[in-house]
């Protein structure tokens, strides 16, 4: 027994440490967002995360060593609403592999309230915000001083105050402006009652914002146009598809195009004119070496498209008006930019971005701040030399909302 017990412990304790690994989600798990995932207690040198869909298919979500944290590692994963299970594998420095999984339980729908006098803990869906910057469209600003709230309302944030009763701030024609709620007092009970009485309306408002980028597609019909920047009665997806086709018609790009043309032209002349192997082979070899050196020294550049559109005048009808765009591109810039000319000042914008990148990779930070982002595919987050990238099949396209 004396011999067996230490051996058993020696076997069981490391195993317990390995199986104690777990996944946690500091900000919850939200579909259509880049989610932070913590792998706790992992002696890991490499992490892999993948998602299992309802139909049983698997999709890679993360690959890399992870960002070190106290007692664990941080990684990232983008989810859509069809992933039901998050699976992971970590490899330790000794080569041991541990597997773990977590059911994807959607985090609670939260509405942030700034300026609430007291605690909102346990009062779902209300959630106390510490700063004004945390507020997004559909959230609540408790205005405890006499000041003009029109900029806040234009940004889609509801204002709750006892000081203003003006109906002019409301605009029934614009469904994206926040509401002005007049309350008699600023004590916690009165505000909580006001919130509860408009609960359904407030939730529906925020859901409408969220659903806007999430419900948009990527494959609209082709519409013939006379002016390349005027889209008569066109929904956002048609505008995006049309401009994307125009921008990314050529996937090769100028550097490789010219390198290939120069190589083929010179090698054709060489093969046509030279008959001696001793001259022909070294010459074509030099041409090929020059091509290889060029491609290694001048890697392809990321090319992008960005279109900023106003939110549709009504959530149901987004195709009834003519959209006029202006080009915002700067010379020698890799990204082609367009902006709708009549975006109301101070309002949120619907943004379409598309990338054509060599090796199908763009930095993750381009998307980490977006509250709701819908990609045309599920990109995998990859970590190389400490930097995080999204790995995808070209082109990567995304709809998202951007603040004023």
């Amino acid at each position: 027994m004396r011999r067996v017990l230490p051996r058993l412990l020696w076997l069981v304790l490391p195993a317990a440490a390995v199986f104690a690994q777990s996944l946690s989600f500091p900000e919850g798990l939200t579909p259509f967002q880049i989610n932070a995932v913590e792998v706790d207690h992992a002696d890991s040198v490499h992490l892999r995360l993948w998602g299992e869909r309802f139909d049983g298919s698997e999709v890679p979500l993360f690959s890399g060593p992870g960002v070190p944290l106290r007692g664990g590692f941080l990684c990232y994963a983008y989810l859509d609403d069809e992933i039901r299970l998050l699976l992971g594998e970590s490899e330790s420095s000794s080569g041991e592999r541990a597997h773990f999984s977590a059911e994807v339980r959607r985090s609670e729908f939260r509405i942030s309230v700034y300026g609430f006098p007291g605690s909102l803990e346990g009062r779902s869906p209300w959630h106390g915000a510490r700063t004004e910057e945390e507020l997004g469209p559909g959230d609540i600003y408790v205005l405890s001083r006499q000041s003009d709230p029109s900029a806040i309302i234009a940004a889609g944030i509801h204002v709750l105050t006892p000081y203003i009763h003006s109906v002019e701030l409301q605009d029934p024609r614009n469904p994206w402006r926040g509401y002005l709620f007049s309350v008699s007092d600023l004590d916690a009970r009165t505000i909580a009652q006001a919130l509860e009485s408009r609960r359904e309306e407030i939730i529906a408002f925020k859901q409408r914002y969220k659903n806007l980028p999430v419900s948009l597609g990527f494959h609209g019909p082709r519409v013939p146009r006379e002016d390349p920047l005027i889209f008569p009665a066109s929904p956002p997806v048609t505008i995006a598809r049309s401009l994307q086709e125009q921008t990314f018609r050529d996937r090769v790009g100028p550097p490789y195009r010219y390198a290939l043309l120069v190589f083929s032209f010179l090698s054709i002349i060489a093969v046509t004119l030279i008959r001696k192997w001793k001259i022909l082979l070294p010459l074509v070899g030099i041409l090929l070496t020059a091509f290889v050196v060029f491609t290694l020294a001048v890697p392809g550049r990321v090319r992008g498209l960005r279109i900023e559109l106003a939110l549709p005048t009504s959530p149901e009808d987004s195709s009834g008006r003519t959209v006029t765009l202006e080009s915002m591109s700067q010379p020698a810039e890799n990204t082609v930019r367009y902006r709708q000319t009549d975006i109301p000042p101070g309002s949120w914008r619907l943004v379409y971005r598309s990338f054509l990148a060599p090796g199908g990779e763009v930095p993750l930070k381009l998307f980490t701040d977006d509250p709701w982002v819908r990609f045309n595919q599920i990109p995998e987050v990859r970590q190389r030399h400490g930097s995080l990238f999204l790995k995808f099949r070209n082109p990567l396209s995304a709809w998202s909302l951007h603040g004023p």
Partner: protein, 159 residues
């Protein structure tokens, strides 16, 4: 190099470079691209087996087009694309060695049959296994085929 073969090489080089430029908006599976270039190389060697210097020239002519196509149509990185090109060229080397072995046969009918068989077998071998296997397997197979060919040729010359 005889005239017909040089014309074939020119056509292959032009096709290889023109394809990525003319189909710049397409998205293709990397396997299809690699198999396409391999079949093109095998078809050029259908008539007479490649001499080593011919094989080298053909590989150099096909490399830029194949590389660009893998980058543009299949989104591979520069490193991955060159590894893929290297694999395809190794299999082309294997094909050249096997077709050289076939030429050692004395029966004309058998030679013709085997040549056509090889056109099917080598790309199939590539698609079914060599494409996923380590490049070392391709290197070993090509080296073995060439060593056998050179050994048999030397035996024949002695006889």
């Amino acid at each position: 190099m005889d005239r017909n073969r040089s014309i074939l090489f020119l056509v292959a080089g032009i096709l290889s470079c023109a394809f990525p430029l003319l189909s710049a908006s397409w998205e293709l599976n990397p396997l299809v691209i690699r198999a396409g270039w391999l079949v093109l190389g095998c078809l050029i060697g259908l008539g007479t087996p490649f001499q080593p210097q011919e094989l080298l020239l053909l590989a150099m002519l096909l490399t830029p087009g194949l590389f660009t196509s893998l980058i543009v149509h299949a989104d591979l990185s520069t490193y991955q694309s060159y590894i893929s090109v290297f694999r395809v060229m190794l299999i082309l080397g294997l094909y050249a060695a096997l077709s050289g072995l076939i030429e050692l046969s004395k029966s004309t009918t058998l030679r013709i049959l085997l040549r056509f068989g090889l056109i099917l077998v080598v790309p199939l071998l590539f698609l079914l296994g060599l494409e996923r296997a380590s490049p070392l397997v391709s290197i070993a197979l090509a080296a073995l085929a060439w060593a056998t060919l050179l050994f048999l040729r030397s035996l024949r010359n002695r006889a």
